[in-house]
């Protein structure tokens, strides 16, 4: 969960995104008529209107540059039928936001919801075209990785269903046991989820990520209730919403904006998550199941490397060799902490142990930061 890191990245102009670590990247902008100079499709939201600068778009990565010119807080959705393709809530008056999504040919609707209520003011858009700017190897990498993400996202749903049922039944011990496993598939693909506007903050925000007036929701709200002895009845609605959100995530994966570079950068972001959240023990402040997340982040980064391997073997074989070595070193540092099907509680890992884990992560993160560029042919 990286609200603070994510928001500024998305607010940058599309061209600047080429150099940053976000999965939302716009090096291959939509080129339809009505697209702005940087290739983004302007969406102007007001209290009464929702103007989309171009309603005929080519397929591929599309960035919507949203400006709220109204007096109310608004939100913008892209629908395929009633399925949410992507969304951004809480766009304040006078502010802008960029939302990038991979649109395959078909009919969509862009909806602005001034006041964040109702069905919104909708504009139909039509996406046409076949093929992709990627070559066969690149396309295979993207397809393979998307299939992996889909499988992981689908796998989250039944796990969260079980967690939700245990919470609803007031079964604290059962829910505690289900909590960390329910997060594993999510933690392997989290950067993709982060690319969809609002899902990640809703599902995985930590208390420290919030500002005054924001409510803690998602997994960490459940974590807090489960480990602080709170009455579980109070958080059943939170569990219900989390279940809806994981379902929505699985639905959105087909439109995740993926390129070889974004997949590589996503791997780096997973290790950044480890370095800033798990090593410090901040991610799972109540359950101390940080090492379970840690392993999932590493597994997700390795899956990204495996998807990109045919590309990077050609462009930078030394990098691949170095990454294989460093992945093995991180795994060797983690393995001693295995316990049963999971890992020991992170509050039992002392300073020396945390330092050694941090060093292994640094050793991997430095070469991993070059994977995105190597996959993009740079």
């Amino acid at each position: 969960m990286r609200i603070r890191a994510l928001a500024p990245i998305l607010l940058l102009p599309a061209l600047a995104l080429a150099g940053c670590g976000s999965l939302v990247e716009s090096t291959e902008p939509a080129a339809g008529s009505g697209a702005s100079d940087d290739g983004a499709v302007a969406v102007t939201a007001t209290d009464e209107a929702c103007e989309v600068a171009s309603t005929d778009l080519p397929n591929g990565l599309t960035t919507f540059a949203i400006t709220n010119g109204g007096s109310q807080v608004t939100e913008v959705y892209v629908y395929a039928g009633e399925r949410i393709v992507t969304e951004k809530e809480n766009i304040g008056p006078g502010t802008s936001y960029e939302l990038t999504v991979d649109l395959t040919a078909g009919d969509y609707e862009v909806a602005c919801k001034p006041g964040m209520v109702g069905d919104g003011i909708r504009s139909a858009i039509s996406v046409t075209g076949e093929g992709s700017p990627l070559d066969a190897t690149e396309q295979a990498a993207v397809d393979g990785y998307r299939a992996f993400v889909q499988e992981r996202a689908d796998a989250t749903v039944p796990l969260v269903q079980q967690l939700r049922d245990a919470v609803a039944a007031g079964d604290r011990a059962g829910a505690q046991a289900l909590y960390a496993p329910s997060r594993v598939p999510w933690e392997t693909v989290e950067p993709v989820a982060e690319s969809f506007g609002d899902l990640d903050p809703r599902m995985d925000a930590r208390e420290a990520d919030l500002t005054e007036g924001e409510d803690l929701t998602g997994w960490h709200r459940l974590e807090k209730a489960l480990w602080t002895g709170e009455d579980l009845a109070a958080v059943v609605p939170v569990a219900d919403q989390l279940l809806l959100d994981v379902g929505e995530l699985a639905q959105r994966v087909p439109n995740a904006a993926l390129t070889p570079t974004s997949i590589g950068n996503g791997a780096k972001e997973l290790l950044d998550e480890v370095a800033t959240g798990k090593i410090t023990g901040e991610e799972e402040a109540f359950s101390h199941t940080d090492l379970v997340d840690f392993q999932a982040n590493v597994d997700g980064a390795r899956a990204a490397l495996d998807a990109l391997r045919p590309i990077v073997e050609a462009s930078d074989p030394e990098l691949v060799a170095s990454l294989d070595t460093e992945f093995a070193a991180v795994q060797a540092a983690l393995d001693p902490y295995r316990s049963g099907a999971g890992f020991v509680s992170y509050d039992t890992v002392g300073e020396d142990g945390r330092r050694d884990l941090a060093r292994a992560v640094d050793g991997l993160s430095e070469p991993l930061s070059r994977l995105g560029a190597a996959a993009g042919g740079a």
Partner: protein, 410 residues
């Protein structure tokens, strides 16, 4: 790293300022290179030499010192780290950005090779000096028999209050520069290059030189307000340096230790000063404790700082008397320490003091006996607490195409 065009950080800035963005880079490199082959200008210190720079070099204004734990899997990886460090150091001391593309000339999709905070800054007489700690010679890299006999662990001294988190380290790097950001950039860069092979164990910033190796320069003052190191060896006095600072071929106890010839031994001590209690002592007491006048720095009873004096004429427990070479068989050390402040101690006092750095031919005949006597008898000890410590074998200088530690590891 060797493929980097010879464009200085300043040349780069000038070229960019003239509007020659991107496409102008190669041209800028050429232009700068023709006028200024090393890229760094007059304030670059030569990297290569018989001895490492940063020892006899005129003491720069700022220090960033870092001790590293080596986590390399094997000796080959350790050697690779030192080769990579040396390549980066050649760029850093010349004032060039490190790595392919430097700070801004690489792929926009990739992280910049150079971190960028020194762009536009001069070379600032940066020196980088590397040492090997006793712990490097354990069983990990098969170096035990190459450990010089003189590389001893320092004994415990009376009154030591050492924090293990500020002690030791397999490797040490001393970065000295006339611009603090240049020194910090250098350590940060080496730490980044080391990822997966070595990690920073502890580090220390020093902001004001507390020593000089130029006898014609005014002697700097420490945080007690006294001139310190009046009798320091001159950096150009080859005979004194050969006798007291540089390791000689005859010093090798075994052929496997001969790699240290031309090197030196570095002792670092983080010495916290109780500046608040010191400030409450009278001028007369302060001068009795030190053994010199506070204003001129003359030995008590003398008139000028460099007046000859008989140590026996000074107060029995005065610092200058006890530290005088005549008490230690003539042994001298080349000192190039820095004043530091590291915030507050949580009790309403500054955490301030001296980061003591001393180079010597053999610690067993220099730092160890001197410090033992000072710790036992020096009146100044009441105001000091040694909180960090380390000793390193500093290998000789690097020749053309050479690398740090090649004598030890090649």
């Amino acid at each position: 790293m060797s493929a980097v065009p010879s464009v200085s950080r300043r040349g780069l800035l000038t070229a960019l300022g003239a509007g020659a963005v991107g496409a102008g880079l190669a041209a800028a490199g050429t232009a700068v290179a023709s006028a200024d082959p090393d890229g760094g200008g007059r304030d670059a210190v030569a990297f290569e030499g018989e001895h490492q720079a940063g020892i006899a070099t005129d003491v720069q204004s700022h220090l960033h010192f870092a001790a590293f734990d080596v986590v390399a899997a094997d000796r080959e990886e350790l050697a690779g780290l030192l080769r990579d460090w040396t390549a980066a150091a050649r760029d850093l001391v010349a004032g060039r950005p490190v790595g392919e593309g430097g700070a801004t000339g690489g792929s926009p999709l990739a992280p910049p090779a150079d971190t960028g905070e020194a762009v536009g800054l001069p070379a600032a007489r940066l020196t980088l000096t590397v040492g090997f700690g006793p712990s490097l010679f354990d069983d990990r890299y098969g170096l035990a028999e190459r450990r010089p006999e003189a590389l001893v662990e320092l004994p415990a001294f009376r009154g030591d209050a050492l924090d293990p988190a500020r002690c030791g380290g397999d490797l040490a790097v001393q970065a000295c520069a006339d611009d603090p950001q240049v020194a910090v950039h250098a350590i940060r860069t080496l730490s980044r290059i080391a990822a997966g092979r070595a990690a920073v164990r502890w580090a220390q910033l020093g902001y004001g030189r507390a020593a000089t190796v130029d006898p014609s320069a005014p002697t700097p003052r420490n945080l007690f307000g006294f001139k310190d190191g009046t009798a320091n060896p001159s950096g150009t006095d080859a005979a004194t340096l050969d006798e007291h600072v540089w390791v000689a071929g005859e010093d090798a106890a075994a052929p496997a230790q001969a790699w240290m010839t031309g090197g030196s031994y570095l002792v670092a001590r983080r010495i916290a000063m109780h500046v608040e209690t010191w400030d409450r002592s009278s001028l007369g007491e302060q001068e009795q404790v030190i053994g010199r006048t506070k204003g001129e720095g003359a030995p008590l009873g003398g008139r000028r700082e460099h007046d000859a004096f008989d140590p026996a004429s000074l107060p029995a427990s005065s610092h200058v008397r006890l530290a005088h070479p005549s008490r230690h068989g003539g042994a001298q050390m080349l000192r190039r320490g820095y004043n530091y402040t590291d915030g507050a101690d949580g009790l309403g006092h500054l955490d301030a003091g001296l980061f003591f750095l001393a180079y010597q031919r053999d610690v067993r005949r220099a730092f160890v006996p001197v410090q033992r006597l000072l710790a036992d008898d020096d009146a100044l000890s009441e105001y000091l607490r040694h909180t960090g410590s380390g000793v390193w074998a500093v290998p000789p200088g690097v020749g053309r195409g050479g690398w740090w530690g090649e004598g030890l590891l090649a």
